[in-house]
Symmetry: C2
Subunit: 221 residues, 2 copies
């Protein structure tokens, strides 16, 4: 059975990605990052999602103490509502770091692919979620790793890349993704704030999909 | 004064790179990694080199517990002498991870460049030391970071890339790099083993440069 490493944040996009990877026949190992994010609750969510999917998970602790983001620095306010341009929640180099670790892990366990749940509604604000970024990263793998040099490059797979949040939610519903276990809010409180970017896009996605969000008010999952 | 992040391993290549970066007029911040390497002595060496150069240093701890390298796994023997192909000391994704952190740090402190001491004699064994790898990584920065999107990409600078070890040693000697503080041996003992790849290339470099290695027998620097 071919192996894959799946980046799991605890949010709904990566949860759907994990279920898609499993359905594609991959034996999945999840990678969860503790990078000092203020919404640490997503880490516990990610652990529960991997357990629900019967996939092993590793938690990797990352030191980004230089911060440079409102997700890491509580002195910077989390922006509310719809975003324009690159928001303060952008974390310098985040997906490059995450993919680098996933790549290292994949090469060490002879996995063929790394899955990441980036999608079309992430692009405007987060450059490291764009298709051209993933293509560029594939170029790094091709010439900068043992697997690449041997013409067996580990693939970066982004099954959600062209989907909207509503489409992702519909796909996840079909795959029985446990949305009640997922956590999206950036604010870091016990319950979702309902105001931040991430809450906004989650609510909009469920509304457009015509589905009820079972995780919306979950205070203690 | 323009800022730069310099990757510092504790070996002589990165020490020379730091001194070159300083001479080029950069205000340098060093990044040192504890990634579980068996030759942990290089970490202390790196700290002393940054202090000697009067540059601040950050130590970043990285979890590569999946190993996949003789530098991380004491059950695998360190190869002796001249290497052929990719040696067991190759660490999956190492320079990609190091550069990713350096990039994140650089973007957070508004640095213009990241320096790394890769060079021509590293290429055959380590794909992540080749010029094409650094070019590919520049492509990732251009499309996957805030600085890149704003057409102010952080530059990856490799001033040693075309130099041999002997040339690097000659350059370092001119710049008064404290070679006595550097540490190259992979084996992880108190004194250099004199047999591993890294000891071999260091000795060969000093011999070809016609210079004495003041760090060769340093047991307690």
């Amino acid at each position: 059975m071919k192996k894959a490493v799946v980046l799991l944040s605890g949010g709904l996009d990566s949860a759907v990605t994990l279920y898609l990877a499993k359905r594609s026949g991959f034996k999945c190992s999840c990678l969860i990052f503790d990078y000092g994010q203020r919404h640490r609750k997503e880490i516990e969510a990610a652990k529960k999602i991997s357990a629900a999917a019967h996939c092993p998970a590793r938690l990797v602790k990352i030191d980004l103490s230089w911060k440079g983001s409102s997700l890491l620095d509580k002195k910077i306010k989390i922006p509310s509502g719809r975003r324009q341009g690159i928001p303060s929640t952008y974390v310098p180099g985040r997906n490059i770091i995450f993919l680098s670790f996933a790549l290292s892990y994949a090469e060490a366990i002879a996995a063929k692919a790394v899955f990441i749940g980036a999608h079309i509604e992430d692009y405007p604000g987060y450059p490291d979620c764009r298709p051209e970024f993933f293509r560029a990263f594939a170029g790094v793998i091709a010439c900068g790793t043992k697997s690449g040099v041997r013409k067996q490059s580990i693939k970066i797979l982004t099954p959600l890349i062209r989907k909207t949040k509503a489409q992702i939610i519909k796909t996840g519903t079909r795959l029985k993704v446990p949305f009640g276990l997922t956590w999206s809010c950036y604010a870091g409180a016990k319950a979702p704030c309902g105001k931040c970017d991430s809450c906004y896009f989650r609510a909009k996605g469920f509304q457009e999909a015509g589905l009820e969000d079972e995780g919306k008010n979950s205070r203690d999952f």
